[in-house]
C-alpha cells in the first residue's frame, strides 16, 4: 500500500438503494417501477443528499477534501440514471461501482446476482489498497441485506484483526466465488494494518430492532434517519452545528416532521449512547447563538427536556468503545437476520 500521507481528509462510502435512495418496496409493481424510474423520479431517503453534501464539502487546503465512494448493488445498466440523479443532488463522487449483473447472468454466476458479500468486499478492499494508509473512513449502508456484516468484516480486515485463512473460511461459508476470494486476498496482502473504519451507519430501512446489531460491536450505529446520523457525526466532529441544522432542515422538510417528533428522534439516538451530553450542550449553544433560527431553537429546547427526562439513561455512551467480533458467530447471526 502507498504509505504517503493521504491527500484525503476522510473517506465516506455510501450504498445507494435503501441507504441514499428510497427504493423500499412492499409490492412487486413498485419494485419494477423503481427499475425503470428516471433520475427525476428517483426519491432520496429524507436528508441523505443534504448529509452527503455536508460531509463532502470542501474543507479548504488545510484539511483536504473528502473522498466519496459509492458502492451499489444496482445493475451497471442504471449508471447514467443514477449519475444524473447524484449530479442533480449536487453530489461529487470519486468512485462509483455498480454490480455487473448482465455479466453474472452471461457467465451463469447466478449466486452472484443476489450475493452481496462476494461483490462488495473485494471492491472495498481493492479501493482501500489503492489509497494511502492513514486516511480514516465512515461507511453508510442499510439493514436490508448484508451491509453491516460486509462493512464490519472490511473494518476488521483493514485493521489486521482477520487473517487470510479466517477470511477464506468466512467467504467460503458465505458461498463467495473463488475469484472474489482471490481478489480479497490480493488486496489484503497490500494493506498495512490500520484502524481505518471510524463508524458504520446502518439506515434502518426495514425497521430491524437496534439490539440485533449489538454483536457487531459499537462501530455500528443503527439510525432510523439522517437527522440522527447528523447528530452522531456532529458529536464525532464530522459536521459543525450549521451543518447539522442544514441536514435537520432538509430532513424536516422532506419528511414533514414536527418538533416533538424530532425531539423523540433525538432522545432515541441519545439514549442509545451515540450522542454525548457535551455534544448536546455544544449544539444547543451554537443554535442559540444564531438568533434567527427560532424553529431550530425550539427543537433544541425540547431536545434538552427529553435529555433531562432520561435520567440515568442519559449518561450512557457507546462512542469510543471497541469490541472484539466473533466472526463464526456473526456468520450465523447474519443468516438469522430479521427480514432474511
Amino acid at each position: 500500500m502507498n504509505s504517503e500521507a493521504s491527500p484525503w481528509r476522510h473517506v465516506y462510502r455510501w450504498d445507494l438503494d435503501k441507504t441514499y435512495l428510497d427504493t423500499h418496496f412492499e409490492k412487486f409493481s413498485r419494485m419494477v417501477r423503481i427499475a425503470f424510474e428516471s433520475a427525476e423520479e428517483k426519491r432520496n431517503i429524507p436528508g441523505s443528499a443534504a448529509l452527503l453534501r455536508e460531509l463532502s464539502a470542501d474543507g479548504g487546503e488545510d484539511v483536504g477534501a473528502a473522498r466519496v465512494c459509492i458502492l451499489s448493488g444496482s445493475p451497471r445498466q442504471m449508471r447514467s440514471v443514477l449519475e444524473k440523479k447524484l449530479r442533480s443532488d449536487g453530489i461529487v463522487w470519486h468512485e462509483f461501482e455498480l454490480k455487473p449483473q448482465w455479466e453474472n447472468i452471461r457467465r451463469g454466476r447466478f449466486k452472484a446476482i443476489r450475493d452481496q458479500v462476494g461483490y462488495k468486499l473485494p471492491l472495498l478492499l481493492s479501493s482501500r489498497a489503492a489509497m494511502s494508509g492513514d486516511v480514516r473512513e465512515t461507511l453508510f449502508g442499510d439493514d436490508a441485506e448484508a451491509d453491516t456484516f460486509i462493512y464490519c468484516l472490511y473494518a476488521d480486515i483493514v485493521a489486521g484483526r482477520v487473517d487470510a485463512p479466517t477470511l477464506v473460511r468466512l467467504l467460503r461459508s458465505m458461498s463467495a466465488y473463488p475469484d472474489a476470494i482471490e481478489t480479497c486476498l490480493d488486496a489484503m496482502a497490500q494493506l498495512d494494518p490500520f484502524e481505518a473504519v471510524e463508524r458504520i451507519f446502518i439506515h434502518l430501512d426495514r425497521g430491524t430492532p437496534p439490539a440485533w446489531f449489538a454483536p457487531f460491536g459499537d462501530l455500528v450505529v443503527p439510525v432510523f434517519n439522517y437527522f440522527q446520523a447528523a447528530l452522531v457525526l456532529f458529536t464525532e466532529g464530522h459536521l459543525d452545528a450549521q451543518g447539522v441544522l442544514r441536514v435537520t432542515r432538509a430532513f424536516r422538510e422532506a419528511d414533514e416532521r414536527d418538533t416533538m417528533e424530532l425531539a423523540n428522534l433525538f432522545q432515541d439516538i441519545q439514549r442509545r449512547g451515540h450522542m454525548t451530553a457535551g455534544a448536546m450542550q455544544r449544539l444547543a449553544a451554537a443554535v442559540r447563538e444564531q438568533r434567527s433560527a427560532t424553529l431550530e431553537g425550539e427543537v433544541v429546547t425540547v431536545c434538552e427536556d427529553r435529555f433531562v427526562a432520561l435520567g440515568p439513561a442519559a449518561t450512557r455512551s457507546s462512542l469510543g468503545s471497541t469490541s472484539v467480533r466473533d466472526w463464526d458467530e456473526l456468520v450465523d447471526h447474519q443468516r438469522r437476520r430479521p427480514h432474511g
Binding site: 430492532p209 439490539a211 432522545q267
Partner: protein, 346 residues
C-alpha cells in the same frame, strides 16, 4: 390530530417488558398516537432496543421508583415521590401528555391522579368503569359490551355518588362508543324503584328527574350479560364482585371446553364443529381486546389496564386512552355535573 399518552410501564404483573412491547407495536401502527414510556429509563431503553418501533412516536421519562401491588397506595406514594404513576400523572398535568395508562395498583393510580390532575368539579369519588361482554350489541358500532361502574375505585357510594357515576358513565359511553343517548340503569335486586339499599332507592329518585340522561330504571344481575342497557351503575364493592364473577365464568367455560376436548373423541368432534361459534364467544369474552378500564372523575382520562395485561392489551388501552383524550368526554361530564341540582353537584 396527534394525542400523547403517558404509559406507566412499571406496575403490571409481567413487568415493563409487556408495556414496552405494546408501545413499540402501537408506534408502528398509529401515527396519531405518541407515547411517553414512564419507568426506569435504562431498563425501558434496553427493552425498547429489542423491539421494532418507530422512534418518532416514542419517548422515555425516567421514574426510578414504582408502587408494588402489595404496597399500601397512600404510604407508598408518600415514600416514593418519583413513583412511575406519579411521574406519568405529572406529565399530563404539565401538558406533555393528554391521558394516562397504567397496569399498576388501582389505588395508587386513583391517588396519584387525585394529587396531580384533580377531580372534575362536582365529583366526590372517582369511579372505575369496566366493559363487560353482552349478548345484545350497543351503539352505532354494535359493540358487544356494556359499561359497568364503579367496579372498585371506592367500596361504598352514596346516592349522590351513584348519580355522578351515572353522568360520567353516560358521557364515557357517548365519547368512546359513539352512542349519543346511552341507556342507563342502576343495578339492584329488582326492577321496582323501591327495591335495593337506601342509596340505590334514593339515586333512582334523583335520576328519574334528570332529563339529560336516558335513565331506564333498575336492572338485575341477569341483565348485565344480556346487555339490556348500555351503562350499569353500582357501588364499587358490588361492581367488583360482578366483574370478577363475569371474568371467572369466562375462564371456567374455556377450561371446561379444553377439558372436554381432551377427554372424549365425540366431544372433541362436537367442539370442532362448534369451533367458529366458540371462537366468536371467546373474542367477545376477550378482555385484552377492550384495553382497559377508565377511572372516571379526573380532569384528564386515566385508563387502568388489567394487572395481567400483556402487550396487546396495553396497546389497546393506549388506543382507548388516546380516544378518550381526543373526545370531549371530560367537558361533557363537567357540563352535565354543572347542570345537576346543587344538593348533588356541590
Amino acid at each position: 390530530m396527534t394525542t400523547t399518552v403517558a404509559l406507566d410501564c412499571m406496575g403490571g404483573d409481567h413487568g415493563p417488558q409487556e408495556a414496552v412491547r405494546g408501545a413499540a407495536a402501537l408506534s408502528l401502527k398509529r401515527q396519531d398516537i405518541r407515547l411517553i414510556l414512564v419507568g426506569d429509563a435504562p431498563i425501558l431503553s434496553d427493552l425498547l432496543d429489542d423491539c421494532a418501533y418507530n422512534p418518532a412516536q416514542l419517548s422515555i421519562e425516567h421514574a426510578g421508583e414504582w408502587v408494588e401491588q402489595h404496597e399500601k397506595p397512600r404510604e407508598a406514594l408518600k415514600a416514593k415521590p418519583n413513583a412511575s404513576i406519579l411521574v406519568a400523572c405529572r406529565s399530563v398535568a404539565e401538558g406533555r401528555a393528554q391521558s394516562i395508562v397504567t397496569a399498576g395498583s388501582t389505588g395508587a393510580a386513583i391517588l396519584a391522579a387525585d394529587f396531580c390532575l384533580g377531580r372534575i368539579p362536582g365529583v366526590h369519588r372517582a369511579a372505575l368503569a369496566a366493559v363487560t361482554p353482552t349478548e345484545l350489541s350497543h351503539g352505532p358500532r354494535e359493540d358487544p359490551f356494556a359499561l359497568l361502574l364503579d367496579v372498585g375505585a371506592t367500596l361504598h357510594a352514596t346516592a349522590e355518588d351513584l348519580v355522578t357515576f351515572a353522568v360520567m358513565g353516560s358521557a364515557y359511553a357517548s365519547a368512546i362508543s359513539g352512542n349519543d343517548n346511552p341507556r342507563l340503569a342502576l343495578l339492584s335486586n329488582g326492577t321496582e324503584p323501591e327495591k335495593g339499599p337506601a342509596e340505590v332507592v334514593e339515586a333512582h329518585k334523583l335520576l328519574v328527574g334528570m332529563e339529560s340522561l336516558n335513565f331506564v330504571g333498575n336492572v338485575e344481575g341477569l341483565d348485565i350479560p344480556r346487555g339490556t342497557v348500555d351503562v350499569v351503575v353500582t357501588s364499587g364493592f358490588l361492581g367488583n364482585v360482578v366483574l370478577k364473577m363475569v371474568e371467572g365464568i369466562g375462564e371456567v367455560i374455556s377450561d371446561l371446553a379444553s377439558d372436554a376436548y381432551a377427554r372424549k373423541f365425540l366431544w372433541r368432534l362436537g367442539l370442532t364443529m362448534l369451533s367458529s361459534g366458540l371462537k366468536e364467544i371467546e373474542s367477545v369474552m376477550d378482555w385484552e381486546s377492550y384495553g382497559g378500564a377508565p377511572i372516571l372523575g379526573f380532569r384528564h382520562p386515566v385508563l387502568k389496564a388489567h394487572g395481567r395485561s400483556r402487550s396487546r392489551a396495553l396497546g389497546n388501552a393506549c388506543k382507548v386512552a388516546a380516544k378518550a383524550a381526543r373526545s370531549d368526554m371530560v367537558r361533557v361530564v363537567e357540563d352535565s355535573l354543572a347542570a345537576l341540582p346543587e344538593t348533588i353537584g356541590s
